[in-house]
């Protein structure tokens, strides 16, 4: 089972003592100093993540936007140069091909950032709908992606670049130099904290990684793995493809109606999603807290009034809140805030309560 791919920083992670696990076809660091410690560092100081397993697809040409509009659900026409957008691709039934970020570098030059496990599927899907004057290119292997996340991120990263980070708004990006490397620096992330994602050529991976570690250490930065990334994103209720939504759940069921824009014109999945919006969904993804000490985990069944009615899609201890939290699909009429249901944990019914999400929201930084 060692045909997993490795990022350009694999040896660095090993030297740092990371525990590496297979994830989405990649050997990725799950933790270095411990998930809880890394999680707290990101909430209070900063963490550095290698997320180079993510995929990057370039769409260029006179009709690049037309292709993107046809295959994604959000309205990419609203993007200005230097802006990014959270979006998704849907099947005709409204279920999810993938969730992604769309970056507009120019009127005929876009970058799509997709999930590691879906790169080939997404590429094939887009290509099969490319009836436009647009070229699609998978540049995933030519891109290192590092995420610097946490309240101290801007201060740490600023000493490595002349890009004025304070002028990059949330979901905006700038192309410029980080050290000697041509990079995209984007104010985005998957942790619920302020932070940046940096895209650049793998030949600069070690020098940029090491510089961020050295510069960041006095400011509390630690290397952080996929374990902390998961607990951080769950507290912020950022969804994980394959767990919280997939080809069997629609965007509306997953609570992603805010990235579905029927008014932009036709796109794949539009008719189904419009119909489902009119008729209402029969099940909904909800956030919940466990009322006892037990921890609900991914895939545990959920019961309402003694009957199996759904399942947990992501479940974990919340390190920031010191509670056990999760996301689950429940029947829509049982999904109101404060509704009680049960999670079956090792054949015991354990009480849970639907709560408002996100579980954690950062206080706005100055």
């Amino acid at each position: 089972m060692s045909d997993s791919k490795r990022t350009s920083l694999y040896e660095v992670h090993k030297r740092l003592g990371a525990r590496l696990i297979p994830f989405g076809g990649w050997d990725m660091p799950v933790e270095y100093s411990g998930i809880a410690k890394e999680h707290r560092a990101v909430r209070t100081a900063a963490g550095l993540f290698d997320v180079s397993h993510m995929g990057e697809l370039e769409i260029q040409g006179p009709e690049a936007l037309k292709l993107i509009q046809a295959v994604t659900t959000n309205d990419a026409a609203l993007l200005a140069d230097g802006h990014a957008q959270y979006s998704a691709m849907a099947y005709p039934s409204g279920t999810v091909v993938d969730d992604l970020l769309v970056y507009r570098r120019g009127a005929e030059d876009y970058l799509l950032v997709v999930n590691a496990g879906n790169i080939q599927k997404d590429f094939d899907w887009i290509q099969s709908h490319n009836h436009f004057n647009a070229t699609l290119k998978n540049i995933s292997d030519e891109v290192t992606l590092l995420a610097v996340q946490g309240p101290n991120s801007a201060g740490i990263l600023q000493s490595l670049t002349r890009i004025r980070l304070s002028e990059i708004g949330y979901y905006q990006f700038v192309q410029g130099k980080v050290l000697d490397a041509d990079a995209i620096v984007s104010r985005t992330g998957y942790t619920g904290e302020d932070g940046f994602e940096i895209y650049f050529s793998p030949k600069h991976s070690e020098s940029i990684w090491n510089s961020i570690i050295e510069t960041g250490q006095p400011h509390g930065l630690v290397p952080a793995g996929l374990g902390a990334r998961n607990t951080l994103r769950l507290e912020a209720k950022m969804l994980l493809y394959g767990n919280d939504m997939d080809e069997n759940t629609t965007l509306l069921e997953a609570g992603l109606g805010w990235i579905v824009k029927p008014e932009k014109g036709d796109f794949i999945g539009r008719d189904s999603l419009v119909r489902q919006k009119q008729q209402g969904v029969t099940r909904k993804l909800v956030g919940f807290e466990m009322l006892g000490r037990e921890i609900a985990r991914d895939h545990y069944p959920a019961f309402v009034d003694g009957l199996e009615a759904g399942h947990v899609t992501s479940g974990s201890p919340s390190i920031t809140l010191n509670k056990n939290i999760g996301l689950a699909y429940l029947p829509a009429d049982k999904a109101a805030i404060a509704s009680r249901f049960q999670v079956s944990i090792r054949n015991r019914m354990c009480d849970a309560e639907v709560v408002k999400t996100p579980f954690y929201k950062r206080t706005q930084n100055s």
């Binding site: 525990r19 799950v30 933790e31 411990g34 998930i35 809880a36 410690k37 999680h39 374990g227 998961n230 607990t231 000490r293 037990e294 921890i295 985990r297 974990s316 201890p317 390190i319 090792r346």
Partner: protein, 126 residues
Amino acid sequence: MSPEDRLYTKEHEWLKLDGEVATVGITDHAQNALGDVVYVEIPKIGDKLVAGQTFGTVESVKAVSELFTPASGEVVEINGGLNDAPETINKDPYGTGWMIRLRLSNKSDTSKLMSAAQYDDYTKDA
């Protein structure tokens, strides 16, 4: 090097005999592999456990791991402190992180367990 005053299972529990009573916990290797322990489920005093079967669960932030009974017997004492301080298992797996004490029903069960040297050999490539 694992402590030589006790015996080990392939599932990474340790057992320390003191007359008829054996103290049971998980090894340093196991706590290290699990990461930050956040939850422990152990049996009640009086429960009768069977060698090789599960007697509880230990959970880290990331993982759920079952606990396996090293030798059959009745639970005579439990480490109730683990409920409020499960991280004790990370900090002191061979000491204050112990889990249960068993009055063994069949001491010969322990002959199937590994010595410290055997356990270290068993885990050296893991």
